[in-house]
Symmetry: C2
Subunit: 305 residues, 2 copies
């Protein structure tokens, strides 16, 4: 059974850790409910989720907890890429069996300078071994982190070989010309998401599907509002407002800043924690973040209930 | 109980895959016995082992198979680093409990631009949670792959905080001035390995401990012979001979070339296989490799028994 493909705004959901640095399921499930109430989908296990700092078992356990906790799997696009083919297959299969609407898949990122043929082979193995039309893969292009770009030619080969399974792409390169080049190909029912809401209006105007953005963790309602009303006359103004909030986070270590803003708004100190090699904000940075958020009248309504 | 530290030559052991791309335990154990007979230690699960293309469970299973298969754990230095702290802890603990003489530990390599503080914290968590003086960590500096350099200052902090656990380093940067800078610090009983036998003689003359080199998979006896006889008058000549063989592999995709040379010498076609994103040599490349090996009178005596 082929699934409807995503459009809209998704948050690469941040992951809370307890004082032993283990994921806190209860806080996590509550946070995901809050996000879906703000109309955003859940791209759990993304870069901003510290997904590669989690074990395979931790990810499976968290995904199961979300579904048991009442999250609709049709709102879920878990990150399931891995350097290791068996890990990518195992988590992807679990996501499909759990009814997730899609998966966001990094390329294997340990070896550098690998060929398009090798990357094609990796995705092919995953698709062929899972062999299920319910598998909807969104390719994850984030070359500044992985150092492994997903070229337009590679995507073209994958779309043509597996039109039922290759559903779209998240372009986190920050290079609009690359996003535009993907849109220009007009692959059938292929969903192009930008990796930051800074490009959301531009992407919608060019025929894109929405955005999957870190700051959708903290500013979901406003980002969704631009997505839902991009054809209105207020759109450029909304985009400018989103950019102001985004700048607060983008000018700081992004993941710790997102988590600390959430800690402050939710009044849950656990949210400050990150796993090494990331470092949580120090006291000075935290103070500066608070000041910046206050100056922007920033809050996350409904989160602290 | 603190353990004696490594000196000598180690091979980052290549990993054989069956026709379903799964590790082949029997071929693996046999190959490791052949390597130890050539006097080299076993840095299993290194870059040339495709370690990051293996799941945690596959690595644990292979390590257990080696020990059950009669490999002395005091010859073993498994790679146990990972992007995910719990994975690094689990495999490192298993290696210590299995009696391995040491572990070779990559830094977490997904996030780029991480701080020395964050890397320090990562290694600290591993050491403190295992809390066993039998844990002997060899730090793995391979910035061209990980994009995460281990600075001299970071190593200095780790050595001073955990002198019983930080045993040495493998410098795969290919930058001799960096290796020299590590040696210059003269940390007590700290073992500096170069990541290629091209630097073996230079490293031994400067007080280094040996090398951990990809080509020790295919040319172990000759590399060991230079290590054991580096003070002899023949040393420079031996080094030149090693370089000739190394060039054959270094001028090709290294891992597929090592595996194909092994497949040819062992007459075991399984050895040709790699996991994606790597690609095995095509027919033309294989022919050229054979020609180059023949021209160098290359063989791997005792392997095909």
């Amino acid at each position: 059974l082929t699934k409807a493909r995503f459009s809209g705004v998704l948050a690469p959901v941040i992951t809370p850790f307890d004082n032993n640095l283990m994921p806190d399921k209860d806080i996590y499930v509550r946070h995901c409910h809050w996000l879906t109430e703000q109309q955003v989908g859940l791209a759990v296990f993304g870069t901003n989720s510290e997904a590669n700092s989690l074990s395979l078992e931790e990810k499976s356990t968290l995904l199961a907890a979300l579904i048991e906790g009442g999250i609709d799997p049709m709102r879920l696009m878990p990150g399931t890429g891995s350097c290791a083919l068996p890990d990518a297959i195992q988590l992807t299969r679990f996501a499909v069996e759990s009814g997730c609407a899609g998966v966001l898949m990094l390329p294997p990122f340990y070896y550098k300078g690998v060929s398009d043929d090798g990357l094609y082979q990796f995705y092919s193995e995953v698709i062929q071994r899972i062999a299920d039309p319910a598998l909807q893969i969104y390719l994850y292009h984030i070359p500044q982190v992985t150092q492994i770009p997903l070229s337009i030619d590679l995507i073209d080969r994958l779309v043509k070989a597996y039109p039922d399974n290759i559903a779209g792409v998240k372009d986190s390169s920050g290079d609009w010309s690359n996003t535009q080049a993907m849109l220009d190909r007009q692959w059938p029912d292929f969903r192009v998401f930008c990796g930051s809401e800074s490009f959301l209006l531009q992407n919608m105007r060019a025929g894109g599907a929405g955005c999957i953005s870190a700051t959708a963790n903290v500013n979901p309602a406003a980002i969704y509002s631009l997505y839902a009303n991009w054809q209105e006359s207020t759109a450029d103004e909304k985009q400018a407002e989103l950019n102001t909030i985004r700048d607060i986070f983008q000018s700081r270590p992004m993941i710790p800043a997102l988590k600390s803003a959430t800690a402050l708004c939710a009044r849950i100190p656990d949210w400050h924690r990150v796993r090494p090699p990331l470092m949580q904000l120090n006291q000075d940075m935290l103070k500066e973040l608070e000041t910046a958020l206050d100056a922007a009248y920033f809050n996350m309504p409904g989160l602290a209930d």
